[in-house]
C-alpha cells in the first residue's frame, strides 16, 4: 500500500535532511525566531531595570524633592503601592464582570446556537478584539458614561450601606467601576475565543454518554463540558487579566485618578492604574521623574509575569483532571 510506504520513505528521508539547504535554512530561521523572543524579553527587562535604577537608588527625601508630582512624604514604594492596588483592582473587576459573560457566550456558540449563527457570532466576537483600545476609551467616555450614571446612582442610594458602594455617586461616573466595565468589554473577546475553542474540543463521546444517561443539555454541559474545559477557561481568563492589567488608553480616558488604597467603586479620584499613570505623567516628566515612571513600568512587568506564571501553574496542576493533554 502506498500510504504505508510513504511514511517509511519520509522517515528515512528525515535522516538525510541536514544536508539539504532548504531544511538547514528553515531550522536555523526557526531557531533564530525562537531565540529572538527570549532576547527581546531580556532586552525589555534590562531596559526597565537600567532605566529604573536611578530612581531605586536615590534617597527618598531627594527623590521627593526632585520629582514634583511624587507628592509630599511619598517614597518610591508608597508611590507605586497604590498604583499596583489600582491596577489589580481594575483588572479584577473586569475579570469578575467579563468571565461569566464570556463563558456564557462561548457555550452559546459551541453548544446552543445553530451552526450557521454560531459561525457568524464567533466572527463578530473576534472582530471585537480588533477594535483599538483608544476607541473603547472614547466609547466609554462619551457613550457609556451617561448611561452608567443612573445605575451607579441607584447603587449608591439603595446599596450605599455596603462600603464599596458608598455614595454619592460621581457625576460623570469617572470611577474604577466604569474602568472595570470598559476593560471587561475589552477582554471579553479573548476569553470568549479561547473558551469557545476549548468547549469545542470536549470529546463527543463524553457528551453523548451524558445525554444517553438521561442528562438534559445543561446537565450534560455541567458534567462533561465544564470539567473538561476548566483549565482552558482559567488560562483564557488569565490572558484576559494580562490585557486588563496593561491597558492604558481606555483607563486614562474614563478614570479620575487618585493614589489611595480605596475600595470605593463609585467615588472619583481614588485609584489609578500603572499604565495609564505612565501615559499621564510622561509628557511633562524629565530626569528622575522618568526613572520613577519606568520603575512603575518594571513593577507592572513583574506583575504580568507573575500572573502568567500563576496561570501556567493552575493549568498544569489541573491538567491531569481535565484530560486535555
Amino acid at each position: 500500500m502506498t500510504t504505508t510506504g510513504e511514511p517509511a520513505t519520509s522517515r528515512s528521508g528525515r535522516q538525510r535532511v541536514p544536508q539539504r539547504p532548504g531544511d538547514l535554512v528553515f531550522s536555523y530561521s526557526a531557531k533564530t525566531a525562537g531565540v529572538l523572543i527570549l532576547v527581546i524579553l531580556a532586552a525589555v527587562a534590562a531596559f526597565l531595570i537600567v532605566q529604573a535604577w536611578p530612581a531605586i537608588q536615590t534617597d527618598s527625601t531627594e527623590l521627593a524633592e526632585r520629582v514634583s508630582w511624587l507628592g509630599q512624604g511619598r517614597t518610591l514604594l508608597s508611590y507605586v503601592g497604590p498604583l499596583v492596588f489600582g491596577t489589580v483592582l481594575a483588572a479584577l473587576l473586569a475579570l469578575i464582570i467579563a468571565t461569566p459573560v464570556a463563558i456564557g457566550v462561548a457555550l452559546f456558540i459551541s453548544h446552543y446556537a445553530p451552526r450557521r449563527l454560531a459561525q457568524v457570532f464567533g466572527y463578530v466576537i473576534d472582530l471585537l478584539a480588533a477594535i483599538p483600545s483608544v476607541v473603547y476609551g472614547l466609547w466609554g467616555a462619551l457613550w457609556l458614561m451617561p448611561k452608567l450614571y443612573p445605575v451607579f446612582n441607584w447603587l449608591a442610594e439603595n446599596l450605599g450601606f455596603i462600603p464599596i458602594f458608598e455614595g454619592p455617586a460621581a457625576s460623570p461616573p469617572r470611577t474604577i467601576l466604569t474602568a472595570g466595565i470598559v476593560l471587561a468589554v475589552m477582554i471579553l473577546p479573548i476569553i470568549t475565543a479561547v473558551s469557545r475553542e476549548v468547549f469545542f474540543q470536549t470529546p463527543t463521546l463524553h457528551e453523548e454518554a451524558a445525554l444517553a444517561l438521561g442528562a438534559t443539555r445543561w446537565e450534560m454541559i455541567r458534567m462533561a463540558v465544564l470539567p473538561f474545559a476548566r483549565s482552558g477557561v482559567i488560562s483564557a481568563a488569565m490572558l484576559g487579566l494580562g490585557r486588563a492589567l496593561g491597558e492604558t488608553m481606555a483607563v486614562a480616558m474614563v478614570l479620575s485618578p487618585g493614589l489611595t488604597y480605596s475600595f470605593l467603586l463609585l467615588q472619583p479620584g481614588q485609584q489609578q492604574n500603572i499604565a495609564a499613570n505612565i501615559a499621564l505623567k510622561f509628557p511633562e516628566s524629565s530626569g528622575l521623574g522618568v526613572n520613577v515612571l519606568i520603575f512603575t513600568g518594571l513593577v507592572l512587568f513583574l506583575i504580568t509575569l507573575v500572573v502568567n506564571m500563576l496561570a501556567r501553574w493552575i493549568v498544569s496542576r489541573r491538567a491531569e483532571f481535565s484530560g486535555a493533554n
Binding site: 467616555a141 462619551l142 457625576s171 480616558m253 479620575s256 485618578p257 487618585g258 489611595t260 481614588q270 509628557p283
Partner: protein, 371 residues
C-alpha cells in the same frame, strides 16, 4: 518706513499674483500665498536658514501656526519646535542646542547664568503667548455665574460643596441656585494651566486657598481628566460640575465671570491682554527683558487675571549671523499683529497689546547678529 513697506507689499502681491496664476485655479495655494504676504510685509526681508526651538507645550498649537505662516513667507527658512516642556526647553537653550526656547516660567538665576553664558550676553524673555483660562461650569438654569476669588477657591478646595451655599448666593444675588452638589474637575496630568490657575487662587483668594501653586493638582479624591479636552468633556458629562480650561475650548459651556476689584469681569481677549500690561516687570532684569510679575490680584477695571503667559526666550546676541537673522525675523513675526492673529485663530490665545508689541520690537532691534 511706510512707503518702503507699501512698495514691498506691492511687489509681494505681484509675486503672489504670479504664483497664483502659475498654480492655476488652486484655491489652497492661493490662500497660503496670501497668508504669507501679510507676514512678509511686517519683516525686513525674506530670510533663509534653519533654526530649532524647544520648550513649553502650551505654545505648541500657536507655534505650529506661526511656523506655517512664517515659512510660507520665507520659503527658504526652516523652523522646528519641539514641545518638550518648559524645563527641558530652558535646559536645551542653555546648552545651545536650540536657538530659542518657549517657557511658561521665567528662568531662575542658575538657568539665567547658563543662558547668558551660552549667548555671550544676555538672554531675554518676551511674553508673546497669552492664553486665558476660563472657569467653565455645567449647571442647569444658571446662565451668568459670578464668582469672587475666595468663593472660587472654596469650591475647588472642597469647602463649598453645594451650589446654593451662602458664599455663592452672595456673589449671585439675582440667580436662583439649585441645591445639588458641586463637582469640581481638575487636570489629571501636570500642566501649565493648573499651575497658572493655582497661582491665581493663591494670589487672589488669600486664606481660602491654602495650597502651594503647582502644575499638579494638590487635592486628592477629585474628578479629573487628561488634557484640556478631557476636562471640558468631563464638565459637559456631569451635573453641577465646574472646571478650568483654555478659554478657547470652553465651547457651549457656561463661563463664570470673575470678580476683579468691585466688578465681575467676563473673559475676553482684550481683558486678558490687559492684565499683562498692568503687571509690573520682574525686577533686576536686563534692559529689554520683558519678564513680568503677573499681578493676579489686580483690581484694575476690565482686566481678566486668570491667564497663562508663555515666554519666548532669545539671546540679545547671536554669533552665528545666519541663525540670528532667522531668529530675529521669526520672533518679529510672532509679535506682529498678523502673527498674534494667527495664534488667536489656531490656539485661542489673546493677542498682545500694541504697547507691548512696540516694546518687543525695540527689544528685537537690540539683538545684535554676528560679532
Amino acid at each position: 518706513m511706510k512707503p518702503i513697506r507699501y512698495g514691498r507689499l506691492a511687489a509681494i502681491v505681484t509675486a503672489g499674483a504670479l504664483a497664483l496664476s502659475a498654480c492655476g485655479n488652486d484655491p489652497v495655494s492661493a490662500g497660503s500665498n496670501d497668508g504669507g504676504n501679510g507676514g512678509a510685509s511686517q519683516e525686513q526681508a525674506a530670510v533663509a536658514g534653519e533654526i530649532a526651538g524647544a520648550g513649553a507645550s502650551s505654545q505648541e498649537a500657536a507655534m505650529q501656526a506661526w511656523i506655517a505662516g512664517f515659512q510660507s513667507a520665507n520659503p527658504d527658512a526652516t523652523i522646528t519646535y519641539e514641545a518638550s516642556g518648559s524645563g527641558a526647553g530652558r535646559t536645551q537653550f542653555g546648552e545651545g542646542a536650540v536657538a530659542f526656547a518657549g517657557s511658561d516660567a521665567v528662568m531662575d538665576d542658575e538657568e539665567q547664568a547658563t543662558a547668558n553664558e551660552r549667548c555671550g550676553g544676555e538672554a531675554i524673555h518676551l511674553p508673546l503667548y497669552i492664553s486665558p483660562i476660563a472657569v467653565i461650569y455645567n449647571l442647569d438654569g444658571v446662565e451668568d455665574l459670578q464668582l469672587s476669588p475666595a468663593t472660587l477657591a472654596g469650591i475647588f478646595n472642597g469647602k463649598i460643596t453645594t451650589w446654593n451655599a451662602p458664599e455663592i448666593a452672595a456673589d449671585n444675588p439675582d440667580a436662583s441656585l439649585p441645591s445639588g452638589p458641586i463637582r469640581p474637575v481638575n487636570r489629571s496630568d501636570e500642566s501649565g494651566t493648573t499651575e497658572n490657575f493655582t497661582e491665581y487662587l493663591a494670589a487672589a483668594a488669600g486664606a481660602a486657598w491654602p495650597h502651594e501653586p503647582s502644575g499638579d493638582w494638590p487635592i486628592q479624591g477629585t474628578q479629573s481628566a487628561q488634557g484640556t479636552s478631557g476636562v471640558v468633556q468631563t464638565v459637559e458629562g456631569g451635573q453641577g460640575t465646574i472646571g478650568y480650561a483654555d478659554a478657547s475650548k470652553a465651547g457651549d459651556l457656561g463661563v463664570a465671570k470673575i470678580k476683579v476689584g468691585e466688578n465681575y469681569v467676563e473673559y475676553s481677549a482684550a481683558a486678558a491682554a490687559k492684565v499683562v500690561d498692568e503687571s509690573a516687570r520682574v525686577e533686576g532684569r536686563p534692559e529689554h527683558d520683558l519678564a513680568i510679575e503677573l499681578q493676579r490680584d489686580t483690581t484694575a477695571e476690565g482686566t481678566y487675571p486668570i491667564v497663562l503667559v508663555s515666554y519666548t526666550i532669545v539671546c540679545l546676541n547671536y554669533d552665528d549671523a545666519a541663525q540670528g537673522d532667522v531668529v530675529k525675523a521669526f520672533v518679529g513675526y510672532l509679535a506682529s499683529a498678523e502673527g498674534q492673529a494667527q495664534a488667536e485663530q489656531a490656539a485661542g490665545s489673546a493677542p498682545i497689546s500694541d504697547a507691548l508689541r512696540s516694546e518687543v520690537e525695540s527689544a528685537l532691534d537690540a539683538i545684535s547678529v554676528g560679532s
